[in-house]
Amino acid sequence: MKSLLAIYRRELVSYLTTPTAYVFVAVFLLAIGMFTFQAGRFFDLGRADLSSFFVFHPWLFLVFLPAIAMRLWAEELRSGAIEVLLTLPAPTWALVAGKFLAAWTLAGGALVLTMPLWATVNALGRPDNAAIAVGYLASLLMAGAYIAIGSAMSALTGAQVVAFVLAVLIAFLLTAAGLPLVLGFFEGVLGAGGAEALSRLSILHHFDAAQRGVIEFRSLFYFLTLIGLFLTYTALAVDARRGG
């Protein structure tokens, strides 16, 4: 546990002392603002809710979060510092979890910075604040899943750019499986039942469900399983490096 905390702190400080993280967070905030107000027509809708804000989260996250996570392991492998890390008496899962939590904290920080929007809808009307809180929770869980994917690809490939591209691809496939367009295609191939089952495996399906104001237990379970799966994969990829 001590080693997990030490890794977490080191990783978080390393994010906060390099300009990259600030640039990513700033661009994310700019982008989410633009999408919400322009494409989402936040004011024109005349509704006091944040649906036009949350709807863009999956699509922005699936690009931004792999960019944040791509360095987690690839940078260690490039600089050789992995040898320092793996010869410290810390279990691999603590290293993996510490790094993941640092990146997740950064994503959480970016979400916190969008809260003026929440204040705005409260000033303009009387939104369902419980629903918005659930929306934020689902968004945070989804962010965790995208970061876990990025972490796994970073450990697997050991090259930042390759890790980024693969993570975006996997994240996109997992997300888009819930789009009506994709569903329509699979209905032809797998039949209605198969397409329905596939959509239940998509990030979008579970994120959309939470946008109706209730986070179901199975959605919670879904996101935590995704995180667990990809972090396990990260740990396996890191341990495989010990095999030479």
Binding site: R9, S14, S79, A81, V84, T87, P91
Partner: protein
Amino acid sequence: MVLEVDGLRKRFGRRLAVDGVSFAIETGEVVGFLGPNGAGKTTTMRMIAGFLEPDEGTARIFGLDIARERSRAQERVGYLPEGAPLYGEMTPVTFLRFVAETRGVPPARSRHVVMRAAQDVRLGAAIDRPIETLSKGYRRRVGLAAALLHDPMLLVLDEPTDGLDPNQRQAVRELIARLAQERAILISTHSLEEVEAVCTRAIVIHEGRIAADETPAALAARYPGGLEGAFRALTKGEERL
């Protein structure tokens, strides 16, 4: 026994990098690991430090198997990797505190522990500068300080004096001699002069196997040309260009 290495073997693809290496080290010994580049020194040290897993054989540190009880064994080793890779954006003091805390040193004590190790390797004013701006010699010292932090009874140092100037080299040798009194130390080096100066035993490794394991004086006496003659005779056939 502090370190017992028994039949270590490691293969990379088709190449057998380490082929059945066995030796043991006791407290008070400074063992010099000698051999041409690619002989298997670094791979052996990486397996002892728990960075690489052996394909066959074991390394036990105070009886703890590095493959089966890795973390507990690693708690007892101070390891300096070859080239001393570090986190460039950190300063030595933040890096050393990170290592101390990961090793479970309570935060209240970590400052004291870091300062003592920094003093041991004479980091001086470099302690607050970003590691990426430091010279090779200072980086090596930071790596050495990280290996010493938790006061381990076994030190595994991969080329601790490589790239240092003569004054720095002398300082590191004096440090090793001082530390050796209560510890077991394994160092790899290309400098035969260093082996004569600090080592109580020399292990020559060639093509993944141990070619000689005796005191530097005994080794030097067996071959014409002293230690250098011995090294050449034992590792012949490597450098045909």
